[in-house]
């Protein structure tokens, strides 16, 4: 499908896309301004999108900036990621009710904000998925939807989800997807991919079609094949985004470098700065850890089991008989970074980092994953011993 020639749609067609998906009973979720940031929430028209807003990001800093143009997608990724819809922060795995000596298991709780694992799911249409986040979804597909143990809730939601990607035409200072090869252009996994083009006289979108249903959605909306100069203009914008990125992660030999750096002095240095507050893991679009909490009400008649987002920065995360395995800050930071950039490769075949930069922006003290890795690499690389997978001891999860 993606081999078809790119199409051109006008600004007004975005409203057409949204209303057509809504008519098909999809909950359209997209970026929208709320307070001082651009979050993800249900949208019903283009006026809900961050019209004319971009964001300025730096370590521990996020600010919105008003632009003189009515752009829809001049911002980059924000505090939320799509994982909150596919892997909800709190999910009711089941509830149990005792009635006349019988225990009945269910999972629904009418009127509750907390979704139940067996609830009928709302079909979502994600509008404005950036390439980094699309790669994150593809990674979580492997985690929750691949292999012998699958997450039924994730799969049910994911199978119905529409993905309308947006290629980035601006980078934030915390972006580094070009170096992790996960952006700024969406390469696959989308129904439609849009590139927003704004010139002095014109405001249009170049659309690449990824699926049959994507093509069908465009029927009835005003579109035509894009001409060469329009396609070239869009491509130029996206290439320009890649060259704007000041940060990078050197991925060559990354696994080997980290496996040989368990005793690096940098871990001590970063531990002095790290708050173990878990913000980095919560905003990360690929982090997938959760804990399970059991509660029983006062009457002893109703119990429920909730799954909640957890983090390897929390002490209870590695608690076993005798205490937490990773009680020092150093051990927790090292574990997170080494999993993300090294053992993830053994586990899922890709890096666990998609270069979205959220962990840099939303760390309250601005710890920068690219800087930490660079410091380790710069002093380890010269002594690097080539290793094979068999020699890898620590395939931790």
């Amino acid at each position: 499908m993606s081999t078809t020639t790119p199409l051109r749609i006008e600004l007004s067609a975005i409203d057409g896309i949204i209303s057509s998906l809504r008519q098909q009973h999809y909950t359209v979720v997209g970026p929208t301004v709320r307070g001082a940031s651009i979050v993800l929430d249900e949208i019903s028209s283009t006026s809900d999108l961050p019209v004319g807003w971009m964001c300025e990001q730096a370590p521990a800093r996020y600010r919105l900036i008003k632009l003189p143009v009515d752009s829809l997608f001049a911002h980059t990724v924000g505090p939320h990621s799509w994982k909150q819809y596919l892997f909800p922060p709190i999910l009711r795995l089941f509830s149990a009710n005792r009635n006349d000596g019988e225990i009945r298991i269910g999972d629904g709780l009418p009127g509750s904000d907390v979704p139940g694992a067996g609830d009928a799911v709302r079909p979502y249409a994600f509008l404005g998925v950036r390439s980094c986040d699309l790669h994150a979804i593809l990674i979580q597909d492997k985690i929750f939807g691949g292999g012998p143990y699958q997450d039924a809730y994730y799969r049910r939601v994911r199978e119905q989800t529409w993905i309308i990607a947006v290629n980035c035409t601006l980078a934030s200072a915390t972006c580094f997807c070009a170096s992790t090869k996960t952006g700024p252009k969406a390469s696959s996994g989308y129904d439609l991919a849009l590139t927003e083009v704004i010139t002095e006289q014109d405001h249009y979108f170049i659309v690449e079609v990824g699926t049959e249903r994507g093509l069908k959605l465009l029927e009835g909306l005003n579109h035509r094949p894009a001409n060469e100069s329009e396609t070239a203009r869009a491509a130029e914008l996206v290439e320009g985004t890649a060259s704007q990125m000041a940060r990078s992660l050197e991925t060559e030999n990354i696994r080997e470098v980290l496996y040989q750096s368990a005793d690096h002095t940098r871990w001590e240095a970063v531990a002095k700065r790290c708050l173990t507050c878990a913000n980095c893991t919560m905003v990360c679009p690929t982090c997938f850890c959760a804990t399970v909490e059991d509660t029983v009400d006062l009457t002893g008649m109703r119990a429920e089991r909730l799954r909640k987002w957890d983090s390897c920065f929390n002490m209870d995360f590695s608690y076993i008989h005798g205490g937490s395995v990773r009680s020092s800050v150093k051990a927790r930071y090292r574990h997170w970074l080494t999993h993300k950039l090294a053992s993830w490769i053994d586990q899922f075949g890709t890096l666990g980092c998609v270069g979205c930069g959220r962990c840099i922006t939303w760390c309250p003290v601005g710890i920068d994953i690219t800087e930490e890795y660079r410091a380790i690499r710069d002093t380890t690389l010269t002594n690097l011993v080539p290793s094979s997978t068999e020699e890898v001891e620590n395939g931790n999860a």
Partner: protein, 259 residues
């Protein structure tokens, strides 16, 4: 059907504002269930009726600030099977522990017409400094949800769910955007224990640290980052010196910013 013997609950007050024991009355919807499952044997805020001990569960509010308190807490301990301290006063000394940083005699002479009538200790200290405490519920005031959870856990013999991680985790679970990053400090969330369900951040306010220091709090990293942004010593001192001023990590951090 055999009538089960209900566990006896007692509520004890030391130096405090009564707000935490009010949380028990504030249970409203659950209050009748609590009364049905637990015998409220000593709770003066709710009833004059006082039943004799020993008590299966004692909720202790307030800090130790007088010689009388320091004796009475031992009696409470002796009469209690399971002693739960509730609130910042009982778990950390409370706001009245601000005296611990000054000379209490000076306050007494300034405030009272006849200072000799006042019998007080130099420091306001948490209950755990005096007797063994089985479980602590943090907060100023405590969370009603956590209180019900702990009572429920004791009734069925399960582990209470009172996480010791940061407030940030609760913000993120609720989708609340981090104010520290989006509009700037202060917010004590990254060094404060969860439990309030991120109440202040949900109203676009920074966390005040009511639930005290989280597990492994790195207060000095946060404070030195804020100092880099231009925050002054007296501000840093005040942030750490409030309801949980005498909790060790906050105490040490505030002292580090004392000129």
């Amino acid at each position: 059907m055999k009538k089960e013997k209900k566990p006896k609950l007692a509520v004890w007050k030391f130096s405090s504002c009564d707000g935490c024991q009010l949380s028990l009355l504030d249970c409203e919807d659950e209050l009748l269930t609590i009364a049905d499952r637990i015998e409220i044997a000593n709770f003066r805020e709710a009833s004059r009726q006082v039943l004799r001990g020993p008590y299966d569960i004692s909720l202790v509010e307030g800090s130790i600030t007088t010689p009388h308190d320091a004796e009475r807490i031992h009696q409470v301990r002796r009469a209690s099977k399971f002693l739960v301290t509730i609130g910042a006063c009982a778990t950390a000394g409370g706001i009245q522990a601000l005296r611990n940083f000054k000379d209490v005699k000076e306050f007494v002479s300034l405030v009272y017409a006849t200072p000799s009538y006042i019998e007080t200790l130099n420091k306001s200290t948490p209950i755990a400094d005096h007797v063994f405490v089985d479980f602590e519920l943090r907060g100023c005031p405590i969370s009603k949800t956590q209180l019900i959870d702990v009572l429920g856990a004791l009734l069925v013999g399960r582990k209470p769910t009172t996480p010791t991680y940061s407030v940030c985790v609760e913000c993120k679970q609720r989708g609340i955007v981090c104010g520290l990053v989006a509009f700037g400090p202060p917010c004590m969330g990254p060094v404060t224990q969860a439990g309030c369900n991120a109440l202040c951040p949900s109203y676009h306010r920074g966390c005040y640290g009511c639930f005290g220091p989280k597990e492994t709090p790195n207060t000095s990293a946060l404070a030195s980052y804020w100092r880099g942004l231009g925050m002054k010593n007296d501000e840093l001192l005040r942030l750490h010196r409030s309801y949980n001023a005498y909790a060790e990590p906050f105490r040490k951090e505030s002292e580090a910013h004392e000129k």
